[in-house]
Symmetry: none
Subunit: 219 residues, 4 copies
Amino acid sequence: MSTSDPAGNRPTATTSVTARGGRPRRGRRPAAEVRAEVLETVARMLFHGGLTAVTFDKVAAASGASKTTLYKWWPSPGSLAAEAYFAGVWNELGFDDTGDIEADLASQLRAFVHLMTREPAGRVARELIGAAQTDPDLRAAFVREYSLPRRDEAITRLRRAQDRGQLAADAPLTALVDQLWGACYHRILLLNEEPDDRLVDDLVRTVFHGAGPRGTADA
Amino acid sequence: MSTSDPAGNRPTATTSVTARGGRPRRGRRPAAEVRAEVLETVARMLFHGGLTAVTFDKVAAASGASKTTLYKWWPSPGSLAAEAYFAGVWNELGFDDTGDIEADLASQLRAFVHLMTREPAGRVARELIGAAQTDPDLRAAFVREYSLPRRDEAITRLRRAQDRGQLAADAPLTALVDQLWGACYHRILLLNEEPDDRLVDDLVRTVFHGAGPRGTADA
Amino acid sequence: MSTSDPAGNRPTATTSVTARGGRPRRGRRPAAEVRAEVLETVARMLFHGGLTAVTFDKVAAASGASKTTLYKWWPSPGSLAAEAYFAGVWNELGFDDTGDIEADLASQLRAFVHLMTREPAGRVARELIGAAQTDPDLRAAFVREYSLPRRDEAITRLRRAQDRGQLAADAPLTALVDQLWGACYHRILLLNEEPDDRLVDDLVRTVFHGAGPRGTADA
Amino acid sequence: MSTSDPAGNRPTATTSVTARGGRPRRGRRPAAEVRAEVLETVARMLFHGGLTAVTFDKVAAASGASKTTLYKWWPSPGSLAAEAYFAGVWNELGFDDTGDIEADLASQLRAFVHLMTREPAGRVARELIGAAQTDPDLRAAFVREYSLPRRDEAITRLRRAQDRGQLAADAPLTALVDQLWGACYHRILLLNEEPDDRLVDDLVRTVFHGAGPRGTADA
DNA sequence: CGATAAACGAGACGGTACGTCACGTCTTGCC
DNA sequence: GGCAAGACGTGACGTACCGTCTCGTTTATCG
């Protein structure tokens, strides 16, 4: 999520978080250690107070990192929150392939809706999307790290269904993704309603079979 | 947008904004006059600096109203911005009925996309949606004043088409609205892309005719 | 304390404070009734929150009088508080005359010190004196209603002692009052100390017998 | 006057107020520099508008310091005004020792009265004493920085006179100070009158020779 | 005795100050 | 040299009070 990672090393468990009980550390510390502590702290703060609780001031006070350091690694509190968030919920949504594309889509959408509406993870996700509309750094990070990868996953799965003849050869796959996930986002972000199973079923059925008049010869 | 309007009278052009050149008014002024001046000012500020430029401090300084008054009428800067925004762009999107539901939907979606992506109105709209994810007052106002009315408009138009046999009798109208508009929102808010005419066409075609394999007997 | 009392009638118990349990009174009410309720309320507020708790806003809310009315009768919150205060502690300090001027002065000073240092009356008195240094209306009222009358009382008692030969014929009575009471005020207001009985004894003895070297011929 | 001075260094003329003509400084500046500019500004404000003109908002605007900084160094506007005031009028009243204690006391009292009654310094002093009755921080600062030191000065001078046999060996020195200065404060603060030379003479004479009946054997 | 004017309550309004918080910049002192 | 610590200017927040002013209601007074 961060713009640059000179060391190239994501913090691992092996990199020392050792001197935890010591006196308030000063002087130079390994970047990885600092980053790890910060992200851990931010994840906790996100969980408790939501996105608005993540300020550089509070993070600095709670994590032991200095504001100078935070500014060096993250362009805005939103970016920092986003990285901490993704590091946590990452990989939570794997795309099944049972062979039944409609069922797989429905179950995937249901899992997605559940993630977006349960507390506190869902609230944080919604707040991140919200903040991204104002914070360009956050928006770029969000698209790059979340939206595009997840869209690609979905398209990959759809293309496989297409290859199997479960979708029309000229089906606009990208538009289908927009339609299916976008409908859920619409409910959640714009209407403040929680999508139910009924909606998911309707979405999938319409996408595959259309909502036009029955018996009509589809041109 | 505001929670209560004791006088019950939305400010109109007729209500005196007369004593403009006078001394800096003290004491009680008609609520309608104050509200009108504030909303006018906020609209200008939205146009120039976007949503983040709308702070109670700046609005008070620029409109001649006091912060006390602003807090009395609006629970948050976002709510104020929303009301000013809707008072301006309201009714900009009228739903045509040429008899051809697919064409009407497409043209309506195209107009909507244009509104959401042109500057500065589109940016403000996106920022409002974003802020609504954090500000409960703004969210409530947004849903009440914008999302629900526009969805009702769309459903009304779709129901008419349904009555004419242009849609299946059991078509899930609400879900269709989510699918069509939600897809555009998905592109704009989540992916930071501008929906093109191609997308709109794909959306409408899929909704009416499905993207399943051709020649399939639609169950 | 108030600048004018057109009706000339201080509120008495007979003037109706009747409709107490009724609906929240509006429209014209007898001035005396309004004034009485206000002063009663302010006395309570002074007792609980001190002088700073007496604001026109709070008094209006608590007394049922409107701010308009308060501004009509009192020039500042301080003046209002002063009037309410004096209406309460008035006449609390009567000057005894046992024939022993030194003993009478000492007991009078002790009573005065006790009044000024016990809570909450003493705190309010100190705050009133403090506020009078900034609020001209309050200062004028304070001097007129409190300082001068009490000084006159003291001078009257001293002159009687002088007539009896208990004080030098050319004793500067006004200066003596300044010395005796002023010394206590000095301790309380300037040094934030509580005058003790020892101080009072020293003051009286010095005033009557001097602190110069013993055996000296008083020129 | 401030509670703590971490750097331990009172601002001096040598500490750089150099970069005055530069751009509006951001980031950290030396505390001494900031404090010096603030106190200078406040002294000017006190001179022109009195104590009520010293608000944190105005000081911040006029001095270039931020409200945050002001709150960090001073607990209330009154404390700030007090420090600025004392930094200015400090040392204005030196205690002479001509050998004639009565004459020295009289001249010292006259100088004190003059300081307390001339404009604008006297008005500010009275307002400070007034505000100290409500503001505990200001009261503590006032007592610590002004009242006690000045009383100690006076007692020192009186003790010297006592050692020379110009005062009774058992003369209550502290009470004498209360009597002499307190009498002047009484006139000024409580009675709103300006002490004249006559008063000062009467005070000193009474303190040394008593106001009791002449020829009486002083018990 | 009914109309009218005065006094009141309620409270909105423009100002101003309060005290707090976060941002982004900058300096100092450890390590 | 990099980092913590944290002070600094900026500016917004939400609240409180002041003093002015408008409105509708009630009462006392007078035609």
